[in-house]
Symmetry: none
Subunit: 237 residues, 4 copies
DNA sequence: AATGAATGAGAATTCATTCAT
DNA sequence: GATGAATGAATTCTCATTCAT
């Protein structure tokens, strides 16, 4: 993983009517957002309902509309919030590492830890594709941007194969991480629906061996990226 | 990619009441399934409605229930159908290749081509996570199983690094392919919503360079999978 | 009970289009009517459906409309049929009795026996009130007419109190019989839904004691029908 | 009739979600229940629909579901409500009478008056048999329980024949009253569908003459309950 | 005579959002 | 700021009936 530190702050929240919030309002809004995270994660966007969110927040139904314009809007805020938090978790994890591979590993670990602790991440973010596609793009893009910057820097340092395209590689890495997290964390929930605290022993090692090879500077014998010189153009029927 | 040939047949379809279909029934059912593919892909599961599907199929509303029990069921059938077809496309593409890398490349090419031609694949399959999680698992698992078998065989042939875990690697490969397809095919639609016929020139080359390195048998100098001996266990807070 | 013998024949059945039936048609029609009796009794009018009836009859759906015009019509035929049969059962039971009370008792016994053997009687007839009110009236009226005639004859013979109004009394008798049958036969079904073969020992004796008193010619001390001379007219608010 | 005073209160009504109602809610709920009584009585359960009920109540469709879970539930509440009210009407009518026969007559009068004023009673209660059989049992049983208690007391006072079984007799009395009400009140509606204010002159007198004989303590000449000593056991085929 | 695919009107029910208190 | 009663558009699903085979 390749996220550089992006210590963002959530922007100061406003009420639905656009006015800044009092401290009491701030608290209510926060309670709603937390309830939304829980409800959306448990039920998904369509099963979730405003009543369930407000009930779970211990707040009157009408109050919701003092802070959010619509169901969709609270969902979008939540995606932004989770995106901010997962990137923060990754940055934290990577801080103080040395060397690209070590950093990547730390980034993945941070990501998986966050996933284990906040199952809402997958549930909400992946559903964003069907609720608010722009938010999904934003989410992926922001993470990939970090990766990409990290890869470029590492190429510059001679830590990563210069011939790799940083953008394509960054998306590949993120995709790998996403499915591994899904498969080995979220699908391993116990009957009560709780994800395990961590992946099965060794999973990250296995993943890293593959990634390390992929990123490694090719030796003197430096194999060309592909054996046969077919381009994907030819492959299209 | 690593799918072995799985020339499956769709099981003989039954009416909703469980009886085998007449030829006329067969046609109607097929029309409905095609309409469903289109509508689900365009609108997503929740915006889609039975009326929209039957209208699009040019068929009476009630007729739908002669062939499917519910909206959810037709959706599930569609996932199965797409899964069957994409795996078939991949197998076809890989047939006749020699060497693991060449096969992987061909598999990805088949996958991306299918994606470009059937945008429903992503739209429907990814939404399955929220509509019918078991179907999502089935879909991914069936594809991964093929990958995994291919990797094992290649390890046996000395084509792929023996130290790699085939299962973890297979999931990583599929994840990489999925996000690359999403980013460089689906997100590149023109204003009319049509996906390009193929990815930007070179994308697959870039992806393959990364993958080739990841799978390659490590040379004499063979770097260990990770530089520092931390396990993911330690990483857990 | 007071039914005189009315050995009616069901009128020769016609197809829905009004033509007389062939022998094969006759059989099919009879199968449908029997299936309808079973299905209506088990499910009630609204839960019942033409498909269920035809399936239960082992006959194609469309065939139904060769013999009946509508769901409602088959229901009405069924009411007529049951009415004919229950009156026949009562007549049979009463044949050969001597004396009014003995005849009444035999009539009730016949009625209860028929009820135990054909739970459809209650289920279908009572529901007729909401499906085809005219049929309900027909059913009750035909039975009451028999009662009434019997009572009049018995009054003439000096067997029954002359001061009783035969019509009112006949309705009262039928009402009593109906609720007793409902309470002590139909409500006593076992868990499998089977009515017992007969009422609890003594029930008919108890009922008959009450009825005997009600019909009996008042002795010399002959109490007047009511103690205080209020008419129901006064009672209306 | 034999109902003892049962001055029940309707239990405090709750919203569909189980919360107690505000005063405004109370009003709305009452409006809905009244509309339901009218609509169910006019159209029967299956022709009735939630829209018709809410329109008749002058209330938005969705509002219905704030107070009732389903069409079936509002129907059941209505049965309970009518049951409470008819028993109340009967108790009121019987209050202050002296002697069993006088009480019976007053009870019947109260019952018939209620029937004339609330045709919903028959329509709804009798249809309950097909909508919610438990409610039907509850309804009849509650009324019969009152009768039975009255009869026992009267037997104790020497007012009613000791040899009668109070339970069987109570069911017989209720059945008689039910059919008499149906025949001479409900079937006598004019063309506009309005039931007459009371039964034809003399009907209650006729009915009471029969009942009085049935309940009367048998004189010295006390006829045995039946002439011939056959039990209903023998009657079973 | 028999069949069963096709139809669409109609019903119950949900829920985001508004607004008077 | 907070509340929750009211609303109605929209959706899924059922089933009596028709009709071409």
């Amino acid at each position: 993983m390749s996220t550089t530190d992006q210590s963002e702050q959530a922007p100061a929240a406003l009420s639905a009517s656009g006015k800044p919030l009092t401290k009491r309002g701030e608290t209510t809004r926060r309670k709603l957002l937390e309830a939304a995270e829980d409800v959306f994660a448990r039920l998904g966007y369509h099963e979730a309902s405003i009543v369930k969110i407000t009930e779970s927040a211990g707040i009157g139904l009408g109050t919701f509309y003092l802070y959010f314009d619509s169901k969709q809007q609270v969902f979008e805020e939540l995606v932004l919030d989770l995106n901010r938090r997962v990137r923060h978790a990754m940055s934290e994890a990577m801080a103080g590492t040395s060397g690209r591979i070590e950093a990547e590993r730390a980034g993945f670990e941070g990501f998986f830890r966050f996933t284990a602790e906040h199952p809402a991440l997958y549930r909400v973010v992946r559903e964003a594709e069907f609720v608010s596609p722009e938010m999904l793009r934003l989410h992926y893009t922001r993470i990939v941007d970090g990766y990409e910057a990290g890869l470029r820097a590492a190429q510059h340092d001679g830590d990563v194969d210069d011939a790799l395209d940083p953008e394509v590689t960054a998306w590949a890495l993120m995709g790998a991480g996403e499915l591994i997290g899904m498969r080995f964390l979220l699908w391993e929930r116990d009957d009560a629906g709780n994800a395990p605290a961590a992946m099965p022993e060794g999973t990250i090692d296995h993943l890293m061996r593959f990634i390390q090879g992929g990123l490694a500077v090719r030796g003197a014998t430096g194999a060309s990226p592909r054996e046969s010189p077919r381009s994907e153009g030819e492959a299209d029927a």
